[in-house]
């Protein structure tokens, strides 16, 4: 039982890790908390649903255009809503991302309706037998796709000039400006990447949850807790925090009443903030003006 729970936990954790990573990327790169990150997850899942229905591509193949579309969509949000606000205070930008979140939910409701819809995947009905245990095929898809996405992201971050610029901006924003890095350009790329990272989460978890307008928002709350657990602002922390939270939540759900399961992320959020606000990998925050 524990092994099955661990695998399920890793699958859920993969999704948290991706969304938390997307959240932290934008937080570090563009210095804002993107409350619409969850909707970037949701819309990507609906994109893949549309592609599956309209073009009838196989599920795994349909992922690719859906991920790309989600990246473009994130860039459009950045250009239309966020960029004009650059240079203003933190609150207006935070509220603007919240506005984006509400707007996207409205648009999804208009286009696809408010009732839950299944995102068909051939892997939901397949199981891998491991001795006495069964592992869901879709959970394996989630774990593998997430790892692939993390690997691609890692290579991009470490091996390309743009990735280097992202690292520099994340490590010291002013320092990066002074090295001649165009923050506008890199901000756009950061949004594209976090849109694509979030998309993998939405497209792979979609077949397990039913798709509905609020699916991403729920994930955002958990991913936020995961990022805080890992130390908000730490990229490694966000990823490991995501996996850890997924495993803790699923294992707790396996041994305790399921009603408790959904409150686990919030319990962890509160515990971390009380006991160790900087999280596992975060730095003690010093207010710098």
């Amino acid at each position: 039982m524990l092994i099955q729970l661990l695998v399920s936990g890793l699958a859920l954790g993969s999704v948290y890790a991706l969304v938390a990573l997307a959240l932290v990327l934008i937080y570090k790169g563009a210095r804002l908390l993107n409350l619409a990150q969850g909707e970037l997850v949701t819309i990507a899942a609906y994109f893949s649903l549309a592609i599956l229905q309209q073009i009838k591509l196989p599920y795994l193949v349909a992922m690719i255009p859906a991920i790309l579309l989600a990246g473009v969509f994130a860039l459009i949000v950045e250009r239309i809503v966020i960029r004009p606000l650059i240079g203003s205070e933190e609150w207006p930008i935070l509220l603007a991302t919240w506005g984006v979140s509400i707007t996207i939910r409205g648009i999804i409701g208009l286009l696809w309706g408010h009732e839950p819809r299944p995102l068909p995947s051939p892997f939901t009905s397949q199981h891998l037998r491991l001795g006495a245990y069964f592992i869901s095929g879709q959970e394996l898809v989630i774990i593998i796709a997430s790892l692939l996405m993390l690997l691609v992201f890692y290579l991009f971050f470490r091996r390309t000039k743009t990735g280097l610029a992202m690292q520099l901006i994340a490590d010291n924003h002013t320092g990066a400006l002074l090295c001649g890095i165009s923050v506008n350009r890199i901000n756009g790329i950061t949004w594209i990447i976090s849109g694509m990272v979030a998309a993998v989460a939405g497209i792979t978890i979609g077949p397990i949850f039913f798709l509905h307008v609020e699916v991403g928002f729920g994930l955002l709350l958990s991913a936020f807790s995961a990022a805080v657990l890992g130390g908000f602002g730490s990229i490694i922390g966000a990823i490991l925090g995501g996996y850890l939270l997924g495993v803790i939540q699923t294992v707790t759900g396996g041994y305790m009443p399921t009603a408790i399961k959904n409150s686990v992320p919030f319990a962890i959020l509160i515990l971390v903030l009380v006991i160790r606000p900087r999280g596992l990998f975060g730095k003690a925050l010093v207010e710098k003006k």
Binding site: L164, T174, G175, L178, C179, G180, I181
Partner: protein, 242 residues
């Protein structure tokens, strides 16, 4: 000074932080190849002036002309591209990256391999300690080493005008002397024009050719280094002599 080409000309520069005015119309000229110093106490507007020139702050009024081109309000990366680099107050290094990564960041926009290598060798020659610290994280360096790294990183963007904001801040007298010697060397060996803000009046004036004194966001005095050094007002205001 009249016959020299003016590289940077700041006229009636006014900068605000929100509603609070920090600069009340600064005028200054930086001739090509010179070291010019901005003197003044905390809050006099030295950093604000440099930050406006480098594009980190937008001027509300006034003009900044660099080689005849108006640059006021341009984004920082454009200004770096035009040839102005800054080692800012607080240094703004990449603390979690190595010394090598920090130096490479300075060359982020550079493409000419030969020039990059020449600049790199110069920096190591001026600040040999950085050569020994290549794999160390920038955040773990001593204050003096961090300052050297900040200056080096700025130099590696291949500027024609280098802005240095209080390079002596928080350093021991011995280190201050060595940093200023290196600044002199950079100017002598490459003809680099340098505009530096300082509170260490004696050290700054012994290095610079010409100085401006700022007080509460206004320029109050200017003159050749020797003239300012002998000016009792400067000494009494900034060194506490009378």
């Amino acid at each position: 000074m009249e016959r020299k080409m003016i590289m940077l000309k700041v006229s009636d520069l006014q900068v605000y932080y929100g509603y609070i005015q920090a600069l009340f119309g600064i005028n200054l000229e930086v001739p090509k190849g010179n070291i010019i110093v901005l003197l003044g106490a905390n809050g006099a507007g030295k950093s604000t002036t440099l930050r406006a020139i480098s594009g980190l702050l937008k001027p509300r009024k006034g003009t900044i002309e660099f080689q005849g081109q108006s640059i006021g309000g341009l984004p920082p990366h454009k200004i770096v591209e035009l040839g102005i680099a800054m080692a800012p107050e607080g240094r703004e290094l990449f603390p979690n990256l190595t010394v090598r990564d920090n130096l490479e960041a300075g060359q982020y926009t550079r493409t000419y391999k030969i020039e990059k290598k020449e600049d790199w060798e110069r920096v190591i020659q001026w600040f040999p300690i950085l050569g020994e610290r290549m794999t160390q994280l920038a955040g773990t360096l001593s204050g003096g080493e961090q300052q050297m790294l900040a200056i080096s990183r700025a130099f590696l963007t291949h500027p024609i005008l280098l802005l240095l904001d209080e390079p002596s801040l928080g350093l021991s007298p011995l280190l201050v002397k060595s940093i200023f010697q290196s600044i002199s060397k950079m100017n002598r060996e490459t003809g680099l024009t340098i505009l530096l803000a300082e509170q260490n009046v004696r050290m700054a004036l012994s290095t610079a050719h010409y100085g401006y004194v700022l007080e509460l966001g206004r320029r109050t005095l200017e003159g050749e280094n020797k003239v300012l050094l002998e000016n009792n007002e400067v000494l009494s205001s900034y060194l506490g002599f009378s």
